[in-house]
Symmetry: C2
Subunit: 216 residues, 2 copies
């Protein structure tokens, strides 16, 4: 009786089809143009059918948002060649800001939109985000160990630095920077993050050393 297994496979395939179609719509026409009815049209099913595979629209958005974290994590990998803690912090921020500005729709879904935010808590797996977060947390810890950040709790420091990058990206994406020359927004974004990183701890020079002594 492999029938119930095939049924399960079919169900998963249908879920995949819906998600892929949502993704296509999302990438081609942006977050605001995903609608249950348009997804249904594209796959030539009735809108109601989608509700047999997903509880509601947010569940679909949450799935897409997961894809975004995949991409973010890839972007974060670009910094692994750097060892100096301060420079790592800087490049980490740069990678994050670049990701945000170059994938505004993803960023919107992952960090700004209300929908998935609800699911994150009431739910299942915040695993995708956690991976990115913990990768970043390691860098923050290294900077604390190197004396660049004077703060006992790495969670607080990480939250602070993440907020800088998120603040920069989200203010730009939501057009809240009329005081900045619009042609230089991108450059300003990176400079702004730099200002804080370069101003942390003892002035520039003595950044090196203690990274190898970090582990315990």
């Amino acid at each position: 009786m492999g029938i119930s297994e095939r049924k399960e496979r079919d169900k998963q395939e249908m879920r995949k089809l819906i998600l892929e179609t949502a993704m296509q719509l999302f990438l081609e026409e942006g977050f605001g143009n995903i609608s249950i009815r348009r997804i249904a049209d594209k796959i030539e099913y009735s809108p109601a059918t989608i509700y047999l595979y997903f509880k509601d629209k947010d569940e679909i958005l949450y799935a897409l948002h997961t894809e975004g974290f995949e991409e973010l994590f890839r972007c974060q990998q670009s910094i692994t060649t750097t060892v100096d803690p301060r420079e790592r912090l800087r490049r980490h921020g740069e990678a994050y800001i670049r990701f945000g500005l170059e994938h505004p729709e993803y960023y919107n879904l992952m960090f700004i939109t209300r929908g998935p935010g609800k699911k994150i808590h009431e739910g299942d797996d915040w695993t995708v985000g956690r991976r990115s977060y913990e990768f970043f947390l390691q860098d923050v810890q290294a900077s604390i160990d190197a004396g660049i950040i004077r703060e006992a709790d790495p969670m607080v420091a990480a939250f602070a630095l993440w907020s800088v990058a998120h603040g920069i990206v989200s203010l730009i994406l939501r057009n809240r920077c009329p005081m900045i020359d619009q042609r230089e927004l991108h450059a300003m974004a990176l400079r702004a993050f730099d200002v804080l990183v370069q101003n942390l701890g003892p002035a520039d020079t003595a950044v090196v050393s203690n990274i190898s002594e970090r582990k315990k």
Copy 2:
């Protein structure tokens, strides 16, 4: 002939009525529950009438968002008693974060929602926001002069610090902090801003004692 003047007054009064009703709806039921139809219902006019006084819904939202800036500016005034530049920075951040967390609907409208963002640029008066921004800019300049921030361009430094506060508030309001104990979010928000402000520039006595106080 004062008739055309009375007509103008009537027109302004109707605009005011619409805005006040929108405001009431906004404060009582939140941003998501303002709709042209509900405003129309409340003032006992047809929905179409509203379009004789406002180009579209965004124009109404933009007007509300202006009210929010009024309130923010009032909150900023709480710091005027402080003179020490670093402490001023800290308190400025605290006031901003408090405003955001205590008036989430306003904050949403002012800095997160898409609607007014469009109007800010294509439009006339960013005057309300400018006042708050320039007040903050003075503090940043003072910190630069005091050697707390090593950065030539105060615009960049101001943008960076604003981003910290905005990042903190918007991540919390949009539920993107599952890694943080939800009961301590508010405290963490303030601590996170502190970390950066206290880590800026040369470590002064205030910082050192602050840190050693925390350590255990």
